[in-house]
Symmetry: C2
Subunit: 355 residues, 2 copies
């Protein structure tokens, strides 16, 4: 049997579950490798993937006999087939943070079971990455690094944020990315004060900070990188903030090691921000994997222990509303001694010339 | 007050609702124009948008006094503020097809109200488009048409499906699209037999069918276009299927007019497929708007009446597993006399030469 499905079946025993219905496509991909639409049912007697006529051919191409997963076209399943996966009123897990209220009610009706919340069972398992997941992430990070090195040498006079963002995305796709980890952020001048700015038609100008935030996806795994660069010159007030943010990222990566309590680490950083009178505008980071935002969340309300071989983005930032902002972010692997950067592109002051 | 919010407040009266909590970002964008993350609360005394520190600045930029929407940073709201939006146990609508089971439970706790299902109230309202929505869709369709005309003249020997897909996307973005309506499909040769194929590294070859399915997004509004083209030559067996599919699309666009019952129209097409012994692999179409798949759904189980000024994609297709498939799709506006195509690029046999 597919080893991740085997793991999942073993989890059901202490949870006193007779089965589990997996609906979140990311969790289905994690467990089976399938990216086709459908529902994965781990039932007492069998593992079943219910898809439809659009996908059944490609699903059957991908599944091997070793997976021990039977694929069905939903068209060929009757009401009784659905009711037959489980016994009446068996306890069956479901993903309460993915399933809509409407589908929850429909599942109750379709499967005639007692649906039980599973409290992030799969999301928590996905935190620690295996060797293959690490290799894919590394590849995504390499492409992302190269895109940064490329873009800082290729911003031309008159280019808008949108055009710069598109160049980054084009570079990543034509250099092996199978997609974008998320929508690219290119925020220049006063736009950099908004952590989640959308690229606009603003033309890049002398004296600007350009805040980048982007990442490639490789075999489904995401990279996450932010850099702030300076156009033609660096103002002194920018340097001070840049140095602070970079120093904060170093402190975080030293503290975020196997066994560290996230709450304690982040509380310390928040104290430092308060001393400087800077606002904390967003989390200091997050897990990265098949999704760009995964567990763990690096916030002071997270009383959780960090684990070796987790992959996390660490992204301190400081923002001055309507003026400017600076954020530095890398993708890291958690080790016994701290967090080791997987993205590796330069982070001393970068001053670009408009060609 | 913003007219769409005014409309929504009027809907609450016959539904005996004291308010509604809107969580689906697409519905929030439809009602307010905001694309920032947050929750829209239509309460007896006020309209409120709760966002967070990442977005509050840009939200306040966009809202005008005429909107009559107050924006809050969630950080500044206490437990009592949340409970104060409604009276204890008031009936408040929620989006059961968007909200997860987990958030449903959290809302109950946070707002201390009786949550009532709203059965697609907003999704149904979004079916009929206004003049501005139609203009945006038209622009998205124009960009999409141009991308098709461009790509059929620019496929070179040795190009893979992935490279062709990327060229289409590059063209749309650099010709005014603000994004893609969905991930581009380029499926060549036997891959065309899978309606939802993902572009692969397969090289385009003489004798192939290339099945395209793509669309631009403009000001949030989607276009949807599918074409099947032939490489260097057209096999006779392909022509027969192509003619059938094109004829089916014509029949559908003639029948899908204001007042038509979707069920009746689609049942007729299914009968035709059965006579020819072709399988119906997917719906014959769907609404198009802020989302690529909206209401109405063009399936025989939809006992619904079509309305003037709806925008729909009509997409009959015929597929032979492991061999080939042909689908023709355009974006249409529903009128009193039938459906009028908004995408307009050619659909007689297109034979491309590999330059």
């Amino acid at each position: 049997m597919n080893p991740r499905i085997k793991w999942l079946r073993n989890q059901l025993i202490p949870l006193k579950l007779d089965g589990i219905i997996v609906s979140n496509p990311i969790n289905i991909r994690y467990l089976t490798g399938l990216s086709e639409e459908g529902t994965l049912i781990i039932a007492p007697k069998e593992n079943v993937f219910i898809t439809d006529s659009r996908y059944i051919e490609s699903v059957n191409h991908k599944l091997t006999i070793d997976d021990e997963i039977i694929a069905y076209d939903s068209r060929n399943l009757s009401k009784y087939d659905y009711e037959g996966f489980f016994m009446l009123d068996e306890n069956v897990g479901f993903e309460e943070s993915y399933l809509t209220y409407e589908k929850y009610k429909r599942y109750l009706h379709t499967y005639q079971v007692n649906l039980v919340e599973t409290e992030g069972l799969l999301e928590n398992q996905r935190i620690v990455k295996d060797e293959e997941e690490f290799e894919y992430t590394k590849k995504a990070c390499e492409i992302t690094d190269k895109a940064f090195e490329y873009i800082i040498r290729n911003i031309k006079k008159g280019m808008t944020e949108k055009e710069v963002a598109f160049e980054i995305e084009r570079f990543m796709i034509s250099n092996g990315a199978d997609g974008l980890a998320f929508e690219t952020i290119v925020a220049s001048g006063e736009n950099s004060s908004m952590p989640h700015a959308v690229p606009s038609d603003r033309v890049i100008q002398k004296g600007d900070i350009i805040q980048f935030d982007f990442g490639a996806k490789y075999k489904g795994y995401c990279a996450d990188l932010s850099r702030a660069v300076f156009v033609e010159e660096v103002k002194e007030e920018y340097k001070e903030i840049y140095d602070f943010v970079l120093e904060e990222q170093k402190r975080l990566s030293n503290s975020l090691k196997d066994g560290a309590n996230i709450k304690t680490v982040i509380k310390d950083r928040e104290t430092e921000y308060k001393l400087k009178n800077y606002q904390v505008m967003h989390a200091f980071g997050h897990g990265v994997g098949l999704e760009i935002h995964e567990l763990p969340i690096l916030r002071s309300n997270q009383d959780n222990i960090l684990k070796e071989n987790s992959i996390i983005a660490i992204e301190p930032g400081v923002y001055f509303s309507g003026k400017f902002g600076i954020r530095i972010e890398d993708t890291f692997k958690v080790t016994k001694f701290g967090a080791e950067a997987i993205t590796k592109c330069k982070k001393d002051y970068t001053i670009i010339k408009l060609a």
